[in-house]
């Protein structure tokens, strides 16, 4: 059996699954000020009357790191940044203890200027004096040559508890993002580590001695042990959980739009043949552009609880959310109130919903029913138009080869899957007003937790070879080897797959879930003068995000099949 848990803004969803399908799904209230208790309560409730030995896997998706970054509740860290010529690195200053130091490496990874050891030692002293225990060290082009970062690390090792090195976060070239990502990893390290250690201890005490996996923003998981140095990867895993939950219900060989309609926002994602589309560079959070792999999602500030207003007689939906819908005790009208009126939904305060819509109707000069329809229509139209914009944007992504420009895949979805909600009402209406085939995901209330439970371990490897200098390297994996002039692209691909496999298993993957693919596969003849001196080879490979094997039947068995659900 597997447990999936997804902490949301208001509710935390927890599911228990086995190979036959969903056993049960529950919701507990999220206490944002005490996520630890929330997570434990959820785990406690879902495991009631379950033999702990039968539970093989626990996957958690939390808002812990996201919240601490957004709220700025992180300890001060030291950032040591070595840039050399280029855009002024002080423009990327992340925090007060940010030091730009000498040292320079060029685009081929060649040292142009060495590190000044005394300068680093002085910084070490200052950090120590200021009581700073954690630091990030980032060099320009360290993804091509990590030696300067490693040198600085060595000099500072005695002055600090833990040092985060830029070349370990990603093989991608983007110095400002490498700085931001390393900074975030260092900043959320203690919060993340303490939290999950406490969760693990509590589970141990209950006799639940299973490995904990943590959901990442790219819709994959990693083991708790391997997450410690890269806690930034856990930010914004919430939207990823929902998208992964949708995969179980997505048809193969088709492009599908996934819409998670929440109270405040709607998140839109794209699936291609049951695999989510990834952002080419990385996630953006709280003003930081990062190298953290993530799903490509588009978030718009329209949801069921968006505030509805009029301006000059026109309806305005969102972007702000005040509180709940009036039908559920809120103070101002929302799309949910419109839905309550249209569909005559019971178990809520119909009078207040009608009163809310009436206040809008008076401004627009239409009947209550008509106004409700207009509000819901505009909500759905806005969401649809954003989804279409997203598809256009995906298809206009720049490419760099003639082949890709001519033969590149164009996303052309014909189907939308909706979760959040209430999904069935939205699905029905979206289908009515669009060319799409729209379905609500069965079990849409807990699909996010199912997504977390079934997500496989993902990772990426970037390999770089220059046969003229005899170098083969993947600094992110601490890998470097000498090669001869005869080294081939095929050898590089094999090496990349070996490294990827090894990395995935270290991060908690099982061998049957290693669906690997190449993301980049380039080879260039290096010509100097008029003769070829070698080859420049660049390979990037990933374990595709997707669901773990042997649980495909979950989609077919969404009605809880034992000890019934007690959904709130």
């Amino acid at each position: 059996m597997i447990i999936g848990l997804d902490v949301g803004g208001t509710h935390t969803d927890v599911v228990l699954l086995d190979k036959q399908g969903l056993i049960r799904g529950i919701k507990v209230h999220t206490d944002a000020s005490d996520l630890f208790s929330t997570v434990l309560l959820g785990l406690e409730k879902i495991t009631q009357n379950v033999d702990p030995d039968l539970i093989k896997r626990v996957v958690l998706s939390t808002t812990l790191t996201t919240n601490s970054i957004v709220q700025g509740k992180t300890p001060e860290v030291g950032m040591i940044v070595s840039s050399g010529p280029g855009i002024d690195p002080d423009l990327y200053k992340t925090n007060p203890h940010y030091f730009t130091v000498s040292g320079s490496i060029d685009h081929q990874g060649r040292t142009i200027e060495p590190i000044d050891h005394n300068e680093i030692r002085e910084i070490g002293k200052q950090l120590k004096a200021d009581g700073i225990k954690l630091a990030g060290v980032v060099g320009k082009f360290s993804a091509r040559n990590p030696s300067h970062e490693m040198e600085i690390n060595q000099i500072l090792a005695d002055d600090l508890d833990h040092i985060f090195l830029g070349h370990r976060v990603s093989g991608n070239l983007n110095f400002p993002r490498r700085i931001a990502t390393t900074f975030l990893n260092a900043s959320v390290y203690p919060t993340h580590k303490n939290f999950f250690q406490a969760v693990k201890q509590s589970l141990d005490k209950k006799g639940l001695k299973v490995p904990i996996h943590i959901l990442k923003a790219d819709g994959g998981t990693m083991s708790f042990a391997s997450s410690i140095d890269f806690p930034g990867q856990t930010i914004l895993s919430g939207p990823a959980a929902s998208v992964m939950g949708a995969i179980a219900f997505a048809p193969p060989d088709e492009d599908v739009i996934v819409m998670d309609i929440g109270g405040t926002t709607t998140d839109i994602a794209v699936l291609i043949n049951q695999a989510p589309l990834l952002d080419p560079l990385g996630i953006e959070l709280g003003g930081y552009k990062t190298l953290i792999r993530s799903l490509k999602t588009r978030s718009i500030a329209i949801g069921g609880d968006s505030r509805v207003q009029t301006s000059n007689g026109d309806l305005k939906i969102g972007p702000e959310r005040l509180d709940f819908a009036m039908a559920y005790g809120g103070k101002s009208p929302t799309p949910t109130d419109a839905l309550v009126v249209i569909e005559n939904i019971q178990n809520c305060d119909m009078n207040r919903a009608r009163a809310g819509i009436e206040s809008i109707a008076m401004e627009t000069g239409t009947s209550i029913e008509e106004t409700a329809l207009n509000i819901f229509d505009q909500t759905c139209q806005n969401i649809l138009s954003e989804a279409r914009n997203m598809i256009t944007e995906v298809n206009s992504k720049p490419v760099y080869t003639v082949h890709e420009l001519q033969e590149g895949y164009r996303v052309n979805p014909k189907k939308i899957l909706v979760l959040g909600g209430p999904a069935p009402y939205f699905a029905r209406y979206l289908e009515k007003i669009s060319e799409f085939d729209v379905r609500a995901i069965p079990g849409w209330k807990v699909a996010n937790a199912i997504g977390a439970a079934l997500a496989r371990t993902t990772c990426e490897v970037t390999l770089f070879a220059d046969t003229s200098r005899g170098i083969l390297m993947a600094p992110e994996e601490k890998f470097e080897e000498s090669i001869t002039k005869e080294f081939l692209r095929e050898d590089a691909v094999n090496k990349a797959y070996d490294l990827l496999k090894q990395k995935a298993i270290e991060k908690g993957a099982s061998t049957e879930d290693l669906e690997m693919e190449l993301l980049e596969d380039l080879q260039f003849n290096m010509v100097r003068g008029f003769s070829t001196i070698g080859k420049n080879i660049r390979i990037k490979a990933q374990v595709k995000p997707g669901l773990i094997h042997r649980y495909e039947s979950v989609a077919q068995n969404m009605s809880p099949h034992s000890s019934g659900s007690d959904e709130g």
């Binding site: 050399g84 010529p85 280029g86 855009i87 002024d88 423009l91 320079s104 060029d106 685009h107 081929q108 142009i112 320009k140 082009f141 991608n172 070239l173 983007n174 110095f175 400002p176 993002r177 560079l281 003003g287 552009k289 206009s396 992504k397 720049p398 490419v399 760099y400 080869t401 003639v402 082949h403 420009l405 001519q406 380039l522 260039f524 003849n525 290096m526 010509v527 003068g529 008029f530 003769s531 070829t532 420049n536």
Partner: protein, 439 residues
Amino acid sequence: MLQAKNKTGLVFFPAFDWAIDPTHPEREERLLYTQDQVFEEGILDIDGIKEFKPDLVTMNDVNRVHFCIPDGWKVMTESHFISAGGAKTIGMAVLEKEIERGFALVRPPGHHANRVVHGARGFCNVNIEAIMIEFLRVAYGVARVAIVDTDCHHGDGTQDIYWHDPDTLFISIHQDGRTLYPGSGFTKELGGPNAAGTTLNIPLPPNTSEEGFLYAIKNIVLPVLEDFKPDLIVNSAGQDNHYSDPITNMNFSAKGYADLTTLLKADIAVLEGGYSIEGALPYVNAGIILAMAGLDYSKIREPDYDPDRIRQSSQVTAQIEDTGAEVLAYWKNRDEIKAKMQQYGEFNERTRRIFYDTDGISEIQKERIRVCRDCGGALRIDTSADTGFHVLAVHVPIKACKKCRETGYQWYDEASPDSFQRVYLQDRPDDNYLEKDFK
């Protein structure tokens, strides 16, 4: 965080799978390290810098500018459709006011491609700037255009295309033609009888450094632009004036290129040559993009940059000052020069031999222009090449007067199958391109 002062667009198309041949300077690897530098600097993440996917140009876009012999499909490769398309994409984004300025960082280049194309010369098949400009004229009614070609080689193809166009100012700054391919671009080359003075050439001596280039921009180019008052400024931004370029002899730098970009304030820049792919291009391109966006580039420099080592001699400085005075005098007297050229009868003729170094083709052109005070003049080109083609190409300019239009059609209609294998007509007023195949 960084915010561009000028909203700047970028088409980056390195064509990683296209080369003239594997060891040719115009090869797959050319923009690889530029990509590395631009990505690592995070330039595409800067607020106000937007990357566009290139559109493809259409055959009509090509036929508007060129007479491709025997036809466009034989002359164009996929990569040419894309590199010209990249320039067009940037041009459209500027005129739609989606961006204030834009840079088409594309390959292959185009400024050695003439109006008549029998094959590739100077690594160029079609003129990507001209294809963009003539599209913008048709689509957006752009009238006066200035092209400032800062590639180290004379932009002879662009000069050929605009030789008779009084509404296009073409200024080329390049290494003296006596010392470098294509061997043209002397100060006396000023344009045809209907457009004398709207072609200007500023040949610079070998070893010209930052000082000389910036002198030429400040003291020659900017004052002329000020007089001409273009609606659009296009920079053919070749990067082979760099001190490390393997096929030229100049001493320009990344900082110098960025300063030049700041001074010139071009609406659109289009990459041309530049073959120091590791030592120059990554830094020059980063500098140009930042300069276009109005951002600080003072810390962008080559690892081996040493201004003292590349400083130009006083002799070079004096020579550039003399050239500048000469060019400005031509510009000042352009009306008289034109009047003088127009006094020899209704038609003016010239015969030229053109060599296509990249494809090894020799061409002979007999060109006849109708001398006209009302438009650019009807143009008749009788061209034969050692590929066996002998064709007639007739161009009726975009703002053709009635008489020039009639003349153009008369040439087209009267062409005899005994003399030519094919006849082509560019009817620019109607944006219509005709051809007759006599075989």
